[in-house]
Each structure stands twice: as C-alpha cells, then as structure tokens.
C-alpha cells in the first residue's frame, strides 16, 4: 500500500505542494483530479523520487521511502510526454528496466516481447521511436513501465492527446492489464470520465495558494 502524509514540496520560495496526503491500498486505483498548475505532476514526481520533498512522509507497505533514491523505490512513472529513449528502438525501450537489472539480452527481449504483444505492439519491435504514431508511442511508454513490474504505477495524463477511438481502446487495454496484475495505480488526469472509468476512487488536489 502507498501512503503519502502531509507532503510539502517547494521550488525556490514557491510552494508547489502543501500538506498533501493520500493513501492507496494494494491493487487499488486512485484518480487524482485538479486544475492545471495545482501540482499534480509534481506530486507524482515526488512519489517517484524525482523531486526533493521539504516536509512529509511517503511510505510503501509501512516502509518510509521519503529519502530512498528514485531507482530503488520500485515505483513506475509514465510521463505525459512519454519520454521514450530516442537512441533505442521499441523493444530496447521496453526492455530497459530489465537491462539495468542485469537480465541477459535474449531473456529480456523475450520478456519485452510479451509486453509488446499485451499492448498490441507486436511487429513494431525494431521501429525507431521517431517513427511511431502518438498512440503507439504511448503504448510503448506504458509497456516500458509495466515491464519493470513496479509495486506502484503512476500515470501522468496517460491518454491525453489521443483521438476518441484510440482513447477508448487504450483505456480498455489498461483496465484489463491492471485488473489482471492487480496493479496499484495513481492516475493523474483532468478528464473525470477517464478517471472514473479506470479507477475505483477519486481525489481532488487544490492549488496550494488557494
């Protein structure tokens, strides 16, 4: 289970997050809504360990991870703009987390292959990432995060910018994957319908200044 208590993040003299608390049970999916600029992305980055926190505690299964380095937290993050590695092809992107854990090349490729097929990406293994469509790139980003089997998955506007049919299709795929694996998810989105469709619970984040 993921627990965030009284989290405060400051950038320079500006408070980006102030006193945010949330709690997600194992296997639960939480949607986080809020106006733009209220710190949704920062919240995810703080949980993932990419920004320093000034105050508060982050726990996973009762363990305090507030100051554990990002690469030891076992928390996956899907960026809004995907952030695929431009120098790798599709399969190497997906296999990256396995590679840094020292898995042999053949083995990690076959694992990555499974994830590709789960996200309907079979056949694109050796495509360069600059040659992917928006929907394909998003699927690669999701597959890459899932391949690392993180304990918690953080999604930052995962379906924005996709057209309606793609949106629906990917939403269905995600629900299916998360249901099957019992993944714990924090899902940041401005789209309430999307949050309701994917998550069991919803919370509102407000601007720290207001």
């Amino acid at each position: 289970m993921l627990q965030v208590v009284d989290l405060t993040v400051q950038r320079g003299s500006r408070r980006v997050l102030e006193g945010v608390s949330l709690s997600v049970q194992s296997g639960e999916r939480l949607a986080v809504h809020g106006p733009s600029g209220c710190g949704k992305t920062t919240l995810l980055h703080a949980i993932a360990g990419l920004v320093d926190i000034q105050h508060g505690v982050i726990r996973i299964d009762e363990r305090d991870i507030s100051h554990v380095p990002a690469h030891q937290r076992d928390i996956g993050l899907v960026f809004q703009d995907n952030q695929l590695f431009p120098h790798f092809d599709v399969v190497d992107n997906v296999a990256y987390s396995l590679r840094v854990r020292g898995m042999a090349k053949e083995e990690r490729r076959s694992v990555a292959q499974e994830w590709l097929s789960r996200f309907s990406l079979s056949g694109l293994e050796h495509r360069r990432i600059t040659e992917l469509s928006g929907g394909e790139a998003k699927r690669v980003a999701l597959a890459r995060t899932m391949a690392g089997a993180p304990r918690v998955v953080l999604l930052d506007e995962p379906l924005s910018g996709l057209d309606d049919s793609l949106h629906e299709q990917l939403l269905g795929d995600l629900r299916e994957v998360f249901d099957r694996l019992g993944t714990t998810v924090v899902h940041v989105t401005h789209d309430r319908a999307e949050g309701a469709a994917l998550c069991q619970r919803t919370m509102e984040l407000t601007h720290p200044d207001r």
Binding site: G49, H71, Q72, L77, F79, V100, S133, T145
Partner: protein, 532 residues
Amino acid sequence: MNLSTRNTTTDPIVRHAIGRWAAGAVVLWVTVFLGLPITVITAGNVAMDDVTRVLTQQSTWRLVWFSTWQAVLSVLVTFVISGPVTWLIGRHQFHGRRVLRAISTVSFLLPSVVVATAFLAVLPRSLHYTVFAVIVAHAYFNIAVVVRVVGARLELLEPQLAGVARTLGASPIVVMRTITWPLVRGAVSSAASVMFLYCFTSFAVVRVLGGPRRSTLESDIALRAFGIGDVGGATVLALVQLAYICVVVGIIRLLMRSDIAYVRAAPPVLPALPHQCRSIASVIGSVTVVFVVTPLVALFWRSLHVRDRMSLEAWRSLFDTALAESLRASARTALVAGVLGTLLCCIATLAVVHLRRGGRAIDALTLLTLAMSPVTVGLGLIVTFDSGWFDWRDRWWFVAIAHTLVAFPLAVRVLVPAWRTTPVGLHHAAAVLGANGWRRLVDVDLRRMRPALVAALGLIIAVSLGEFGAASMLSRDGAETMPVAINRLLSRTGDVVRAQAFAMASLLVVVCTAALIVVESAMKRGDHAAGR
C-alpha cells in the same frame, strides 16, 4: 500538436531535390576555392623528387608524431578543463549562465598570435618553450568548442529522460552510461574531431610557446615555404597532413558513430541549479572565468605600459593612425564573409539535413576545410586566381572568401541542430496551404531559423575578425585586418609600437565579444520563439 518531431521536411522528392542542389553548390564552392588551389600549386611546384625527398626524411615522421601526440593530449586536457563548466552550462539554468557561456567562447576567436603572446606574459618563465605551455594554450582556445558543441547537445537533452531511467531502476551511474553518454557521444566526437584538427594544424601557438625546437607539420610547412623557399616540399607536407587527418578523422568517426541528432522540438527548460550545488558551481564558474580572462587582462595591462611606465600613449597614437583603417578593413571583410558564409552555411545545412549519406559526406567535407594547410591554400589561391577576370589577388573581398571556408565547419554546426528542431507540424501546415517546396523553405524554415541564422552570422563575423592565417597571406594594404595589423606591429621596433599592438589586441577582444553578445542575444530570442 504532433507529439513526434521529425528532422526533415516530409515530402521526400522535394527533400532530395533541395538536398542535391545544395550539396552540389557546396561541393562546387569548396572545389573552386580549396580543391583547385591545392591542385594548381601541387601541379606547378611538386616534382616526384620532392615527394620522395620529404617522405623519406626522418624529420617528416618526427613532425607527424609530435603533431599527433600534442594534439591528442591537448584534446584530453581540454575535456578535463572544460568538462565541469560545460556540464554546468548545458544542464542547469542559473543567473549569469549566458555571460559565462559568452566568456568561455571569447578565447576561441582571438588570433592565436595574440593569445600566444598573452600566454608568454602570464606564464612563468620556467614554463616558456615547453609542451606544457602549448597544451594549456590549446586548451584555452578549445574550451569554447566543448562548451558550444557538447554544451548545446546537453542543453537539448531532455532532462526528464534521466528521470524515466531512474524510475525504471537505473542508478545515476547507469543512467550516465546507458542514456546520457550515448546521447552526447556524437557531440563529444564531433568536438574531439574539431579540436584535434585545430591542435594538429596549430601554427602560431606552437611557434611562439613551443619555441623553435618544437614544430608541427603546419608550422614546418610555413618554415619551408617562407624561410627556406622550398614550396614543393611544403606542398608535399601539406598533402601528407591532409591525408593523415582524413585517416584520423575517419577513425574517430568510425569509433564514435556520429548519431543522427536525437533532439526535441524546442530546447527543454533547464532545471534550476540545486541549492547544494551552488558553491561548487560558483567555484567552477569563477575558475573558468579567471582562466579565460587572465591572459586578456594581461593584454590590456601591457597596452597601458610603455616600457615600465604607465602610459596612454599607445591608445592615443592608435586612434590617430592605423586603427581606423584596420577597423574599417576588418569590418568590411567580416561583414562580407558573414553574409557570404551564412548563405553558404545555409546551403550546406540544407544538404546535411535533407540527404542521408550525402549529408554525412557534406558534414565531413566541412571538417576537411580545417585540415587544409592555410599557408598552402593561401599560396594556392595566389597562383590560381591570378589572371584576367580572375586576377583576384589584390581584391579585398578575396580574404572574405577565404574566411567563409574557415568559419564553415563551425557555423554549419550551429545551423544543423537548429534546423533539425523545426517541428514537422509547420511543414504540414505550409503544405496544406499550397506552398511548394521552395516557398515552404522561405516561409516556414527561414523564418523559424532566423535566430540561428543571426547566431551563425555573428559567429562567422567573429571568426573573420580574429582570423590570421589566410588574412596574412592575402591581406592588402588598406585591407589589412586587425590580426594582421597586430602581428605587424608586434614584429616592429619600439615600445610604443608594441604597446599599440596590445592595445589593438584589446580592442579586438572587445569587438569579438560584442559579436558574441549579438550571437547570444539572438539565441535568447530563438529560445523565446521556441516558446520558452
């Protein structure tokens, strides 16, 4: 907005047509002003006897060996010295970043004669005429190359990529090895090639700081051609140098495959400098500034001294006489070189970004212009363009033409990344509105490229202002550029004359810095245009 950005125009037929025309134009220019002169001087002055004589001389291979190891060492030392400041500038936003970047570029544009003389003034006597002095001076020049080439790439590197990799379980060291390094490797190899070329062909620095006992191929070429009058032997040496450099650069490129720039549409917003890094950053910044500025201050200091006495005489007499003429000549030459060179570099950029294999060949060709011995090219130009309509030897703009070639490799390296970041969406929009390829080029690309064009223009102008080798071969009275004038003043009798040389050098620093500030502010505007 389209999420993916491609680095070329979309219509492959238009793309190829543009690319081929551009490549043809560049090849033609380089052939006429570089290939032809070398051919003419070789044909006219080199006998088989010269070739065997030079190739069998043991001293030739000693020159090759010294040129090589001092260049390799210079490149390594430059990376060590400029690494921290490059990382600082390329990865972080902080107050004074642009100033620091401008300062660390100034040195590159100064005539090497001036810098070498300044180093003599700054270094303790025990270090004069040592390889150490040569290498430190080379590093001094080349900081700019690392800061510009590698720094620019670092800057375009999406900072979040490292974040993604961390969340996927990669430690900072693994991120460095698997993400950051592969993405900057191309820039590092590009910088290394350029620096190797500059150091390998180093002339004035080696002569002045290395002393007569140390000679690179390039400085020996000059000695042979002018000191001994052995033009044939000098030309053979120039060809040896060219062949050798081709091989070395080829190897560097093979070893460190130059990547096709993986850059994003707009430079990402750089993260602010973390608090805990402030003190180390200010140390890095101030050490760099002191290193770069000290020799310049020494120049200025010397301009204020006639013998041991503080005096403004040099400055006063400078304004009375030679200065106005030199300033005019320099300005005129730099302006024409800037406009011509920018045009040429645009064309080269078109070729590089629109052709795949051909693009890489053009890229290599621009580097090759650095490998040609300026002395030999200068002599070649004199014997090639010497009759009838083509007797251009006494034309002041002839120097400007030479400068377009000198500035070429740098300016192309400014333009290509900027071009590649033009988002494909704009091309789509232009295509929908019915613009054909050329119209599209002008309407969309050129407009978007304007800041980069201004930057390239400024860079070429600055290079032209500081260039000595070609200018000294071709310069004419009334068209004597500042570096040539400085060199002439330095070799004349009289303390005042000497102080005048330093005064003029100080002025040159100011003018070059001004050109750089234009470059910097153009880039700043470019950032705004890109939506920052």
